[in-house]
């Protein structure tokens, strides 16, 4: 029996939603095979990877903390991705958000004002958007490829953060170690539930999902983004302003990444460090794709990708495997998703006879 690949007359909606599930299942199967090859008992390996990190209340809290920046950035990037604007600079935008907000926390370290936190979020949002402005401006005014510009700016942003923590913003009483002062209470996000590290920053992420849902699926501008993404020519024909879409798409990502940066430093970290993100800006791209550029899907996929982070640390502790396993699973997830997406536009057909 032979199979033939043929294009579907219309993209399959069913496959569009099935493909992330196929990807997850394939990822699990491949993971199983990897553990088997390594001679690890797959049951205990899977237990250590997927269950151990979240088998108590505290662990669930950790999962949400990890998922929080991912869903926030994922939704923000989706605004651009839907319009075919490829912002892959979220890692740098996050760093710049942390820089701007961290500056506030450091310079007002003696203040006990309740306005410090809101002020930090405004500054962080500004920082992230400022960093996203650059590719937007260079794209609309000079036609420079936003993928490349935002990619380059990642490193510049990360290096600026590193420069400041190694230099001007180093804790004067920190014996020269590259980290800022510990933020004062007024610059720290309150803990929501005792006994966990769940901080108020997650509210912003949940809000982002909600707002993203309304904005992307129910508003006119969300529709415009979609049209502009589907067909560049059609969009300009319909009178939609492409430049406006570029600005919009990039700034939304920058805003979200900047806010995520603030939540990280005034939440779980509590100070500025030379590095404040274990690659959330890149992982959020996986989250957005696996979530089908849909806020509801992003919510779920952010939990999954967050679990992959926690699982990596867990197998490092329990099975003496490197925590880098996380990267293998994250990479595989996206590979399988991209591969399964093929079935949206194509199908296999049984060839009865040659």
């Amino acid at each position: 029996m032979l199979f033939k690949i043929e294009p579907r007359p219309d993209p399959s909606k069913k496959m569009k939603y099935l493909s992330p599930l196929i990807a997850v299942v394939m990822m699990l199967i491949t993971g199983l095979i990897i553990f088997l090859i390594l001679g690890k008992n797959p049951v205990s390996a899977f237990h250590a990877f997927f269950i151990e990190p979240v088998n108590d209340f505290y662990g669930l809290g950790e999962l949400i903390i990890k998922a929080s920046p991912l869903m926030l950035i994922g939704v923000g990037l989706t605004v651009g991705f839907r319009a075919n604007i490829w912002n892959i600079g979220a890692e740098g935008q996050l760093a710049m958000g942390a820089v701007f907000a961290g500056g506030i926390a450091i310079y007002f370290s003696n203040s006990t004002s309740v306005f410090i936190i809101p002020f930090m979020f405004i500054a962080g949002a500004f920082g992230g958007m400022l960093w996203a402005c650059i590719p937007a401006f260079l794209k609309t005014e000079f036609n420079a490829n936003e993928i490349l510009v935002s990619l380059m700016l990642n490193y510049v942003g990360i290096l600026i953060l590193s420069l400041l923590t190694h230099g001007y913003w180093k804790d004067p009483n920190g014996y020269g170690f590259p980290q800022s002062i510990l933020f004062s209470e007024s610059a720290l996000l309150p803990i929501l539930i005792e006994g966990t590290r769940l901080h108020a920053g997650i509210i912003i992420s949940f809000l982002a999902i909600f707002i993203g849902w309304i904005f992307l699926l129910k508003s006119f501008i969300g529709f415009q983004l979609q049209v502009s993404g589907l067909a560049y020519n059609a969009a300009s024909y319909a009178g939609f302003k492409y430049k406006k879409m570029v600005w919009f798409g990039l700034l939304a990502g920058g805003l979200a990444a900047g806010l995520a940066g603030v939540s990280e430093i005034s939440g779980p970290i509590g100070q500025l460090l030379p590095s404040v993100s274990p690659g959330y800006g890149f992982a959020a791209i996986i989250v957005a794709f696996v979530g089908r550029l849909h806020p509801g899907g992003i919510f779920l996929s952010s939990l999954l990708v967050a679990l992959l982070y926690l699982g990596g640390e867990s197998v490092q502790m329990n099975l003496d495997l490197p925590s880098a396993v996380t990267g293998i699973f994250q990479g595989m997830l996206l590979f399988y998703l991209l591969a399964a997406d093929f079935l949206i536009n194509f199908r296999f057909k049984v060839k009865s006879k040659l």
Binding site: K13, K14, K16, Y17, L18, P20, L21, V24, V25, L28, V43, S44, F46, H47, F50, I51, N55, Y58, E62, H166, G167, K170, Y175, G176, F177, P178, Q179, L182, E264, P268, I269, G270, Q271, L273, P274, S275, V276, P278, H294, G296, G297, L300, L304, E313, S314, Q316, M317, P322, S323
Partner: protein, 369 residues
Amino acid sequence: MEQNKFFKFGLCILACVFIVTGFAFPVSSKEKASKEKLKVGFVYVSPIGDAGWTFQHDLGRIAVDKTFGDKVETKFVENVPEGAEAERVIRDLAKSGHDLIFTTSFGYMNPTLKVAKLFPDKKFEHSTGYKVAKNVGTYLCRFYEGRYLTGIIAGKMTKSNSLGYVAAFPIPEVIRGINAFTLGAKSVNPKIKVKVIWINSWFDPGKEREASEALIDQGVDVLTHHTDSTAPTITAEEKGVYAIAYHSDMSKYGPKAHLTATTHVWDKFYTQITDDVLNNKWKSKEIWGGIKDGMIELAPINTKAVPSDVVKMVQKTEKMIVDGSFHPFQGPIKNQKGKIIVKSGSHLTDKDLLGMNYYVEGILGNIPK
């Protein structure tokens, strides 16, 4: 709407996947069995490898295992980055029943304290830091004693009078070592200059190599380092200059280049602390041990290269340090501008040493601000 229906369908399946994986693998009951044993956790900043800072700590862990046999169970997590991730690892160790946890890098200080607050009945020992709590002690070696001795060898062996130092972070622990090394070298050779390159990482063989090459290219003929890998020793061997290693005896990586090394010995300390915890005698302390306490040792001196009178000189000074008749930071000491900062007849106190943030005379350049 059809789209919505499929979306919900998708959610259900994804939820099912989560739940099924959850139930398919019941929690093992292994944890309960080992309740009687004292569980001791170690957090390492770099891979254990076969030489270096973490390697020495792991020798200490193995010593604990050997000494107490069935009474303890040790566990280590290696390659844990300093910062937010460290907090999770330390917390996981505490949560999984480790009653005594050693965190072995400066950058673990704040995470250790944060976790210690949440687990008041667990004991924590943080290496190289300066903050303590009721259940957090600190421990450190007087690395500088070894540094001074190796400085004597470097000062005697250099022909270019230019010594090189690959350093990690400009914190007092490292600066103290650079100063002691310089003082030791100057005590036998007033003409020497020490060049320092900071790489801002504890463990990065690539950068360590590049920095070592840069120093050697600039005329350095005795190289030492305060970083974790064997790269400086290997580079020195290749380029035909001398190396003085740190943390571990690295002679097998540079049989010709390796003159000696300042090594750390944690065996005694780790067994002592574990014993204290087992017997409920543990108290938060700030421990700072040197050659006298067996926490610092010089690796065997390469006698093919180092003349015997130099070896004797080193041994003599070592004896004086042990019996207290000599202190490496004993006056007169001049700062970089040539001003006397420690008068003859006195020496720096431990408090001065712990906060050291200046170079002594003979070191080129400035400490990065």
